[in-house]
Amino acid sequence: MATVRIPTPLRKLTNELEVVEAGGNTIAEILASLDQAFPGLKERICDDEGNVRRFVNVFVNDEDIRFLDEKNTPVKPTDEISIVPAIAGG
C-alpha cells in the first residue's frame, strides 16, 4: 500500500487524517481506491474525465506527475504520494 498525504481542504473527507494508505499500481488506481475508502474524494481531485484538476498538484515521491505519466504514472507500495493545492506562492 502506498502512503498518501492529504491536504487540509480534503481532510474533512478523511476524518481529519493527514496521511492515509491506498492500494493501486497507478495514480488513477490509487485515486479510485481512495474514493472507495473516502467517498467523494476523487471528484474533488479530478474533473469529469478523470484528469487531475487544474489547481491540484499530485507528486509521486518528489516528482510532479505532470513530468511523469499524469494519471497513468506507475506507483510502487513504497512510494509516497502527496496531493498539494497548486495555488500558492509567487
Partner: protein, 426 residues
C-alpha cells in the same frame, strides 16, 4: 484620517463562486480554485471619488476601500506611491513615442513591489491574530516579510532556495528573521510551504494569506492611473513569475472603471519572462491556456524562476482578453535590458526589470506594440539586490593617483582623443 469601512465581506472561489469566511484560507474546499476577496463595488462607488482619493496621503493606502483589510493599516503605512517616470530618452532608444516607467525599485522599505503585497498580508495577519508570519520566496518577498515583520514585532520565517543572490539573502538576514535555505528550486520551496502552512499556526503570506496578499499588487495599477491623471495607459508590460502581478494590474484597471474613477478605454497587458523559465509565455505563444510546468528553471533571473506558476492560467486569460501578448528573452538580453534602462532612464533594476525592458523591446520591434502609442513598463525591484547579474559587464574602474597630471594625461586627454576619433569617423 476618516475611519475606514470594510467593503469586503467574504472570500469567493474564482472558479465556482462558493463563498467562504474571510479567514486564513486560500483554496476552495470543493475544486481547489483560488479564493479572492469579494467586494461590494456599489458601496465603494458611492463612498469614494477622485477627490477623496487625492485628499489622502500619497501612499498605496489611498485606495484602501479596494484592499482586503478591516481596520486602519498599522504595518507598511509608508508603502507605495513610487514615481511614474516619463522616460523620453529610453522611448527614443526603443523607437516609441511615449514611455513611462513605474519605478518600484524605490518602494518602501525593501525596494521592490513586494512591499505592497506584504503590507496588505501582514495587516491582515495581525487582524486574524497571527504572531508568526512566513513566506516562500525567490528573494524580494523574503526581504519585505523580514523587514515589515521586524518593524511590527512579529516573528518571521522566510523560506528561499539556498542558492539565491547574496544581496537577497543578506537583505533578509539583517532583519534578524529566520532565513531557511532549501536545497531545491523555488517550486520545491513552495511545495514545502504548502504542506506546512497551517500546521504551526503561522500566517504564510503567499499560501494561507494569499487572497489578501495578492490584492496588494493592485495598488501598482491604481497608482499608474492616478499618476496619469485618472486614465488607463494603452499598453502595460509586466514581468511574470507566478503571473499574479499581471492579473492584478488588469483587475486594478477593471475596478477603477467599475467604480467610476476612470473612463473605460481600451488597454492591453503584456507579460514578460526569461526564456530559461517561461512556462506562461510559451503557453501563450502556443495559443493554449494549459501551462506546462518547467521542472528545472535555468536563468539568471531568479526572482522570476517559478516553474509551476499558480496564476499562469489567469495571466494568459488576462493577456488574451486585453489583446496583449507574452514574450520572453535570453539571459544576455536581460543584461542588455538592465544596462539600457540604467543608461537611458537612470534607473538601476534587478534582473526582472531587464526582462521587462528586453521583452518590451522585442514586442515593439515585432510590431505587437505600436510605436505611436503610450507604454508603461512595470519595473519591480532594485538592481543592488542582484549585482551578480551585471558584475564585470558594465565597464571598469579607471584608477589614477590623486594627481592633476595623471588626470589630464590618463583621463582627459584620452577621452578627448577618443571623442575626436568618433567625430572624425562621422
Amino acid at each position: 484620517m476618516d475611519k475606514p469601512t470594510p467593503f469586503f465581506s467574504n472570500l469567493k472561489c474564482r472558479e465556482c463562486g462558493r463563498l467562504y469566511p474571510k479567514q486564513a484560507i486560500h483554496v476552495c474546499d470543493f475544486d481547489f480554485g483560488p479564493l479572492e476577496a469579494a467586494y461590494d463595488y456599489d458601496a465603494i462607488k458611492a463612498a469614494v471619488s477622485r477627490d477623496i482619493f487625492r485628499s489622502r496621503k500619497r501612499r498605496m493606502w489611498r485606495y484602501r476601500e479596494l484592499l482586503p483589510i478591516d481596520g486602519e493599516p498599522t504595518i507598511g503605512a509608508q508603502c507605495g506611491f513610487t514615481p511614474l517616470v516619463k522616460a523620453d530618452r529610453l522611448a527614443e532608444k526603443l523607437g516609441i513615442k511615449t514611455l513611462y516607467i513605474k519605478n518600484d525599485t524605490v518602494n518602501y522599505p525593501t525596494l521592490s513591489f513586494k512591499d505592497r503585497v506584504v503590507s496588505v498580508a501582514l495587516n491582515r495577519a495581525v487582524e486574524l491574530g497571527f504572531t508568526t508570519v512566513a513566506c516562500a520566496s525567490t528573494g524580494n518577498l523574503a526581504n519585505s516579510v523580514a523587514a515589515n515583520a521586524a518593524a511590527a514585532g512579529l516573528k518571521s520565517y522566510v523560506l528561499i532556495p539556498a542558492d539565491l543572490e547574496q544581496g537577497k539573502v543578506l537583505g533578509s538576514l539583517v532583519y534578524g528573521t529566520n532565513v531557511i535555505g532549501i536545497h531545491g528550486a523555488y517550486d520545491q520551496v513552495n511545495r514545502l510551504c504548502s504542506e506546512i502552512a497551517g500546521k504551526y499556526g503561522w500566517g504564510f503570506v503567499n499560501v494561507n494569506l494569499r487572497p489578501y496578499y495578492a490584492e496588494g499588487s493592485k495598488t501598482m495599477g491604481f497608482e499608474i492611473c492616478d499618476q496619469l491623471d485618472w486614465r488607463i495607459p494603452r499598453h502595460t508590460v509586466v514581468p511574470m513569475a507566478s503571473g499574479s502581478l499581471l492579473t492584478k494590474i488588469k483587475k486594478s484597471y477593471d475596478e477603477f472603471v467599475k467604480i467610476g474613477i476612470v473612463e473605460k478605454t481600451p488597454f492591453s497587458i503584456y507579460g514578460a519572462q526569461a526564456t530559461g523559465c517561461a512556462p506562461i509565455s510559451h503557453a501563450m505563444k502556443k495559443g493554449t491556456d494549459i501551462v506546462k510546468p518547467v521542472s528545472k528553471p535555468e536563468t539568471i533571473v531568479k526572482s522570476l524562476a517559478i516553474g509551476t506558476p499558480a496564476d499562469g492560467y489567469y495571466a494568459i486569460h488576462a493577456m488574451r482578453e486585453t489583446g496583449g501578448q507574452a514574450e520572453d528573452c535570453t539571459d544576455e538580453e536581460v543584461v542588455e535590458g538592465i544596462k539600457m534602462l540604467a543608461e537611458y532612464s537612470g534607473i538601476f533594476s534587478e534582473t526582472a526589470g531587464g526582462v521587462t525592458v528586453a521583452c518590451a523591446r522585442k514586442l515593439i520591434e515585432s510590431g505587437k506594440i505600436p510605436r505611436d502609442e503610450e507604454v508603461v513598463l512595470c519595473i519591480t525591484g532594485h538592481g543592488l539586490k542582484t549585482q551578480e547579474a551585471v558584475t564585470g559587464k558594465c565597464g571598469a574602474l579607471r584608477e589614477i593617483k590623486p594627481s592633476l597630471r595623471e588626470f589630464e594625461e590618463q583621463i582627459y586627454a584620452k577621452d578627448m582623443a577618443a571623442l575626436q576619433s568618433v567625430n572624425g569617423d562621422r
